[in-house]
Every structure is written in C-alpha cells, then in structure tokens.
C-alpha cells in the first residue's frame, strides 16, 4: 500500500465527512452565492477550525473568487484546499536527526496520546536502523512507567526508569547520560500529562528541559506537543502555553482514526505557525504517519493522487 492509501485509510472518516459535505454543497449549484459561503464556513466550523478562523478562510476565499473571477461553484473546493495548504505549509517538516544523541521531549495535556506516540516514534526510528532509548519521565500517573516499559519491550528498545513519585528531572538527566554512554541515536523522553494552566506543573516541565540541556548542551533538540484531534479550540491555548513554557518545535495530531477532524490545527497555524510533524491514526505502534500538508489537504477534500 502506498503512502496515500494508508493515510487515506486512517483518515477515511475525517475525509468522508468533509468531502461529502463540500461535494454536496457544490454539486447542483449554479452560482456562488452567500448561502454557499455560509455553508462552507459551517463545514469548517464543524471540523473544529474555529469560528474566527473559518470566517477568515471564507473571507480569503471570497477575495480569490473576486480576483480570479470564478463563477463555477465546484472550483471553490480547490480554492479552499489551496488555502488550507497555504496555512499548513507546503512541505512536510521532518524531525532533524543530526546530533548524536538527538533528544526528543514529548509533552501535552492528560490523555492525548503522548506515551503511545513515543512507542510509535521509537518503532519508526528503530525500523530505520537507529538506536533508540526511552526515558520514563512520567513519574506521576499511576503505572505510567509500566506502560512505557511494556511499549519498550514490544518495540524492542530500552527504557530508563526511576521509581514512581521520583523527580522527572533526575530521570531525564540519567537518561541523557545513558544515551551518551550507550551511543544511542535518539532519546525520547516521556512526560506526565499536565494541564497548561497549572503553573507549577509547567515550570516542572521547563526544568526537565533545562536539565536535559545541562546533561547534553543543546538538548532537547525537538519538543513535540501531542494534541488530540478530538480537542476543540482549547488546543490553541495548549499550543501557546506549552510553547511559552518549553518551546514547541512540532505538533503531533493523534486519534485521527475517529470522526474528529482536527481542524483546530488550522487555527493554531493561524496564530503560532508550529508545523504538524506526525499524525496518529490508531493505537498500534505502526499507526503513525508523517504529516504531509499537501496530501493531508487533498485527502480531506477527496482528491486522489498516486502514492509513493
């Protein structure tokens, strides 16, 4: 199966909904009218794009239609798709694995899929022939360490762990040292889920970042914020506040195998421009895909393209 098919498979629900709606909207129409714009706006809002962003996108669409003197309703779909791609960036932004070890810190609110994403990333990078090490930095949630440990066994990578309740900074420090001494390519650090409005927990996170930098200057090289596609407009605040606390270099959008569309990433791009790097489309370790803005937008609007 080519990339596109796999992506499409995971996204099929997401796709169906939006595509069908857009398709329904434009077929059988003779003119582009107010009602059509309004309906497009509603499609976007229903995809969690957010009312403000949806308005903005429809405004841009309106302008383009005027500029390019478009009169055929069916062309709106392409235009809207172009807008989305323009917002998300043209190219996939890869995780740079230049340093040895490269340290990846994974952060996010409770239950979004951090630990599972770490397993998926480990699996991905291990299959590329890299040596991966995990750090069980969630010392808070009951059995979080065991959860990562089980994933480590399944994937076949080592896990650095301390006891439940211990200092996550200490785990991170040890893990960084271990990564250096064991000649590891990539160290992925798990963290406890935390709500971004809890300042003490956010400063704990900043500290983990500083400790990593102390253990290995320049680390963490990549800070991935995991977002649940089911989340609504609060994801914008999450991105902003995690960004302020630790500096986020990329987003991972999980649970796109459900019916939620994850449109909030458009609102996030509108405000913060942090690239989405991966998407999660299931609970198994191979359910991770590189986020390709072009293909993503196309898949959303049902335009086929031959895979890899």
């Amino acid at each position: 199966m080519g990339f596109f098919d796999r992506l499409k498979e995971g996204l099929s629900r997401t796709r169906q909904n939006l595509v069908q709606k857009v398709e329904e909207l434009v077929t059988g129409r003779q003119h582009i009218d107010e009602e059509l714009y309004e309906e497009l706006e509603e499609v976007l809002i229903s995809a969690d794009v957010g009312a403000e962003m949806a308005l903005e996108m429809v405004e841009r669409l309106r302008k383009k239609v005027k500029e390019q003197k478009i009169s055929d309703p069916s062309e709106l779909k392409n235009l809207l798709q172009q807008e989305i791609v323009a917002l998300l960036g043209q190219e996939a932004v890869p995780v740079k694995i230049e340093q040895k070890p490269t340290v990846v810190l994974v952060v996010g609110v409770n239950g979004v899929g951090k630990t599972t994403t770490i397993a998926k990333l480990a699996h991905r990078w291990k299959s590329e022939g890299r040596k991966v090490l995990l750090a069980a930095g969630d010392t808070f949630r009951a059995a979080a360490i065991d959860q990562l440990e089980i994933w480590g066994q399944r994937v076949g990578v080592d896990v650095i762990r301390h006891q439940e309740g211990s200092d996550p900074g200490a785990v991170a420090y040890d893990a960084a040292q271990a990564a250096i001494s064991r000649g590891v390519d990539i160290l992925i650090v798990d963290t406890a889920g935390r709500l971004h409005n809890k300042n003490h927990l956010m400063s704990e996170l900043s500290k983990v970042g500083r400790v990593l930098d102390r253990a290995l200057p320049g680390a963490p090289h990549e800070i991935l914020l995991v977002l649940d596609a089911t989340t609504g407009q609060n994801a914008v605040t999450q991105a902003r506040l995690f960004g302020e606390a630790v500096g986020v270099s990329g987003l991972v959008l999980t649970k796109l195998d459900g019916t939620a569309k994850g449109g909030v990433i458009l609102a996030i791009q509108g405000e913060l421009s942090v690239p989405v790097k991966f998407i999660g489309i299931g609970e198994a370790m191979d359910d991770l895909r590189v986020f390709e803005p072009q293909q993503f937008a196309k898949a959303l609007f049902g335009q086929e393209e031959t895979g890899e």
Binding site: L195, T231, Q233, N234, T259, A260
Partner: protein, 454 residues
Amino acid sequence: MAMFESLAEKLQSTFKKLRGKGKVSEADVAEAMREVRMALLAADVNLKVVKNFVAKVKERAIGQEVLDSLTPGQQVVKVVHEELVALMGGTSSKINMSQKPPTVIMLVGLQGAGKTTSVSKLALYLRKQGRKPLMAACDVYRPAAVKQLQVLGNQLDIPVFSMGTGVNPVDIARGAMENAIATGRDTLLLDTAGRLHINEELMGELKNIKSTVKPHEILLVVDAMTGQDAVNVAETFHEQLGLDGVILTKLDGDARGGAALSVKAVTGCPIKFVGLGEKAEALEPFHPDRMASRILGMGDVLTLIEKAQASMDTQMARDMEQKLRKAEFNFEDFLVQMQQMKKMGPIDQILGMLPGMGNMKALKDVQVDDKEMKHIEAIILSMTQEERQNPQLIKDSRKRRIARGSGTSVQQVNNLLKTFDQSRKLMKQFSDMRGGGKKGKNKAKGMFKMPFFK
C-alpha cells in the same frame, strides 16, 4: 485573543453602539445573536446545538423583556444564561442504586478521556457516602491499564478485581460481579478500555458486558476540552448502550467546556459529576449555573451583577464590575464596597463569584470578622481622598497620621496596605489568566488573605 473576552462585554458594546437610536430593533437583536453564536462556538458548543439554541434565545429576546429593557445587553446575557442553565438541566448527581446489591456502574468513553481516574474518584466518593465499592479492571488493551487501577485501589484502600489481560472483558465483568457478591461489596465500578464510538467490535464488547452484568448506571466520560465531535461520540454511545449520565473531566483546565452542552443536548442525559484535578478527591457534583457562566466565559459575574443590582443602582454595579475585572479598584471603591456589603451579602460569596476565584480553596473557609471590618473602615476613612485613590502615596508619616486618626496602629495600617495590594495583584492575575494566558504566576495560592478574613 478575543476568544476570552466575555460575551457580556461584547454584548454591552454592541448595544452601546445602538444606544443613540433609542429603542432596540429586531436587527439589533440579530446582531446580538451573532455575538452569542460566536461566543458559544468559541466555547466549542456544537454548531447544530448552537443554531437551535440561538433560535430559542432570539425568540425570547425579540419578546418584550429585552426590547423594552434599559440594559438590553445585560438582558440578553441573562436570557442566554437562563436558557443555558435550563438546557443543562438540574443538579442531579444521584446514582441509580439498586435495591438488590451490588449496584453496578460502568464507565465508558473515548481513549484518554479519564475513565480510570474517574472510576477511582467515584469509588472514593461513594465510599464516603458509606458504600463499599469494588473496582474492576476491564481494560485489557492499553498497556498497564490494569496496573494503573490496582495502584489507585491500593492508594485509596479500595479493592480491585482483575484477571490480567489475557481474559475477555465480558468474563472479567462477570467474575467481578460474582466477586462483589461473594465479598459483600455493594457497589461495583467497571473500568472499561477507551474506544472509538465507530469501532463496531469494541462497541459490541460493551454491549455484551451490559447484557451480562446489567449495569444500573452507564456513565459516559467526556473530556471537557472536546470539540465539535462530542455530539457524534455521545450520540453513538447513547444509541448503542443507553447512557444514564455523563462525567465531565479535566474541568480544572481552562477549556470553556461547550461539550457539556452538546452532550446534554444530543443525549438528554444529565451531567452528574465533574472532574477537577488529578487527585482522587477531585470529583464534584455538576452545577449547571456555573457551567453556563463558564461557557459564556464570565465566571459568575452574572450573579454578581444581579446581586449588585439588587442593592445598588445599575451604573454603580456596572462600574464595580469593570473595576473588579480590571483590578483597578482603589480604597475608595473598597469603602463603597464595604458599605454596600451588608446589603449584598458576605464578601466571601462575592469574591467567589469573580471569574477564576470560584475555585480557590482559600476562599472556602474565609470569614468576615466584624471587628476588623470596623478597623478597616476607620483606617480608610482616615485617608485623604487622594490617598484612597493612590494608595502608593501612603508612606511613613502618612501612615502614622492615619493610624492616629483611626485609632489603630501603624502595623494595622501596614497590614491593610499590604493585603490590599496583594489582593489587587491577585485580581489582576486572575483577569490576566482569563485574558488568555500569562504564565508563571501561581504563587498566589494560599496567600490570599485580607485582614478581615480568618
């Protein structure tokens, strides 16, 4: 971002623009309804739910109560608020208890919603009511989910039934039932694996558990941060299982929680509990009025306005609200506030209504001390008008004069100045926090202490 600007403020400015025209027209109401729509959407209320809701509110707004009002902005907010509360239903955190024990409660929901934590919270909550809970680990899929429940059970000293991960969850549920009967536990709580509502196989598993142990209560666990998709999820779970209620989790975050409204609207099921933190105690009964204020992004300011209106003239109330929000109040306002207080009710209640303040633990045991109140009043009365407006002017010699004038000590004056300053800063922080995310200032916890609070 404008998202956090409250609806009340927006509507007030909308109507201010219209004031010159005298009477409010239907078109004005339509304009106001657009603001209501945006506010609800920003809070993640489902679009369809919003549409129905706005239609309903509009009907009432076009009726006499708003058009004839002198304060149409506030009137609209009031109507919106009332309708929201009505839609979300009454407070009903009652669990259907079976005559014949054990009562079986099953928690279901999407991945990561907070089921396991909620199971342990609910078990603790019920134990406090004198029940003997047993928790059963039916999540055999997520790595270490069984262990997680065991650890929580251990911490709370509540027994956990498990059969490892190699057994069918339906059999685990049956085993748990037998175990509860054998060990005399009167309440059985089933933790189930998170699953997508569109996963037929796993939804089928829940149906099998349901027909096997016949739960008296099936609760859907919903993350307060959920967006538009909440309706699809709730609708499907309800169709397939027949829900009895909802637990709304992670409400200690800053999501406006419009999902609460969506879920209630599509299932008709009451929201019974809310989760307010990661600790086992952080479970509370649901309050529709608080939720309505939160969805509208305005704390309980509405109640505050009403209270103030009952005792002060409207202009004064409006000014007060503005000042409290912007933390611009000075000793003069403070004095007015104190003098109005007897009419308005206890200050702890008033402060509790301010956005962000309602959740503060520190306020729970705050009490007003009459004697100290008199001292404070005396101190403020001994200040000059200039000093009341600019407390930073009050340096040593002025302090001595004020102390002498009010029959108090310099230390008492100092105390008042300090705590006044602190609480002003605190209010500033709260409004900043609401204002969309300044960080790094949670130090305020526990330091909130006015001299007359014990």
